[in-house]
Symmetry: C2
Subunit: 299 residues, 2 copies
């Protein structure tokens, strides 16, 4: 697959994804709640997690309806975490994806509720009612809920956020920093890959390889995030640059220095690609090119 | 079943429930998160939702392991909603179940994260890993996740909260008030009954009857809550009394007056019992006595 084919696949996937998500996030939820939910999740973001779900499903030849639902669910979890993370009691950020954060636009109470409802919606999306037509096998629904809940909760994203909160102003060694980011960002990225794999018949060997790929890619994503936080300005990022530094949060750049952080990102990309090579899967080109795009991105 | 048998069943059920919940809420979650989660959900509350799950499962002769998991999951959702609802940007309440609210004890950021992690944990609890031993049939896992997500989300609890927020200082008619409370409180109580019923082989007739029972009971619960808010003091309630009145929120008492509100509670109890009588189920005594306890409670 060349760069042009990948670009074409990415665009087609994103178009289908945006349309599916638009259908699933209710405009009609009461008292402005639907508006806040739609503001927080539609029409913005890199959509890396959905692309990972879809690419992983394609690699195992899986059920594309289920994968699209999983892609929407994982993005809902990611987007809700941003809404809550941006609130005054957390990072107190006013700009996200180039526009005012949800609590700035809708007030804190509505933002908190929208985040809460988005998390619930993620699990609704994974368990479609029979009346919604094309279904997902019940065992796959259960497996997807299990993967998503565990990556979002205390042992995953929420746990990572708690460590993050507690780490402000502290010196961390690389191992602790890695554990924090594994939970905070890595686990949900890895779960995206695993949810895609769950949609198809993946061998134990392929499943393990995709898990290793997801773990390496998840860390690479965060290392690059930390690099961009100090090398890019807010306009390119679409969010406030330099905020980790300002908040006195430990980052890969503050712990390792910018040079070693860049080297680590390259190492993690190589690890991710080595895992794909060991998977025994015939076509892992989308996943491979997604690893490139994570490491080479500028926002 | 006499009052003494019911008391014995309730105590035994609550003991088993508290023990199961204690096992499931992780003490070891990082950076104080587990402590905040356990503070918010263990050792307090009436546990009405878990009792409804267990009583409904008993009425249909269902899988008691699955029902206990469902009982824990629904209480986690209820408890997380209280944590978020008590926060300064929502009701700004400092006392709950006779002790400081979670954000007072742990700070706002940790309270928000604990609530978020508790919602995720509810879905983890419903989708046990094979390594956790005794399992739940995958189709039942999916069904329980579907019921819980829909009752917690935009069309249920979170949507009701949004209406509640928007209603402050407004005059509502009884129909709008009923819709708000149906979503905010009723849907999760009804879902508790339906989750219990899903654990067993319930006929369509029994399922419909239990749904009607849950709907009536859910509204009765809220009507009684509104009555107690003006007739009891904070010490008996374990939370701030008179707060709806102070916040200028419409309630059944403010819309109907105390006398008509009391009459409505009795009517709803009669509706709930009529539904049970129509269910065709042999033993609905626990559910019937739970309806009595909802209407006759003093806190």
């Amino acid at each position: 697959m060349n760069a042009q084919d990948f670009e074409r696949w990415t665009q087609a996937s994103l178009n289908a994804f945006e349309s599916a998500l638009d259908d699933l996030v209710p405009a009609g939820a009461p008292a402005g709640l639907g508006e806040a939910m739609r503001y927080a999740v539609l029409g913005g973001g890199k959509r890396l997690r959905p692309l990972l779900v879809l690419a992983s499903c394609a690699a195992v030849g899986g059920d594309s309806f289920a994968a699209m639902r999983a892609a929407c669910a994982v993005e809902l979890i990611h987007a809700y975490s941003l809404v809550h993370d941006d609130m005054p009691c957390m990072d107190n950020d006013v700009m996200r994806r180039g526009k005012p954060t949800t609590h700035v636009a809708f007030g804190e109470a509505q933002a908190m509720l929208a985040g809460d409802a988005m998390q619930a919606l993620a699990f609704e999306v994974l368990t479609p009612l029979e009346s919604e037509g094309s279904g997902i096998a019940p065992a796959l629904q259960a497996r997807l809920c299990s993967l998503l809940a565990r990556s979002a909760g205390h042992d995953g994203m929420a746990g990572g956020q708690a460590i993050d909160l507690a780490s402000i102003g502290k010196q961390l060694n690389e191992a602790t920093l890695r554990d924090m980011h594994r939970r905070k960002t890595g686990v949900l990225l890895q779960a995206s890959v695993m949810m895609g794999a769950a949609c198809g018949p993946a061998s134990p060997r392929a499943t393990q390889a995709l898990s290793d790929y997801g773990a390496a890619l998840g860390l690479a994503f965060q290392v690059v995030d930390d690099i961009l936080d100090v090398t890019q300005d807010s306009e390119v990022l679409g969010k406030t640059a330099g905020k980790d530094q300002d908040a006195n949060k430990p980052t890969y750049v503050s712990v390792l220095g910018i040079h070693a952080a860049r080297t680590l990102a390259q190492q993690l990309r190589a690890e991710a690609k080595a895992a794909l090579a060991a998977s025994g899967l015939a076509d892992v080109s989308h996943l491979s090119l997604l690893a490139d795009s994570v490491v080479e991105r500028d926002n």
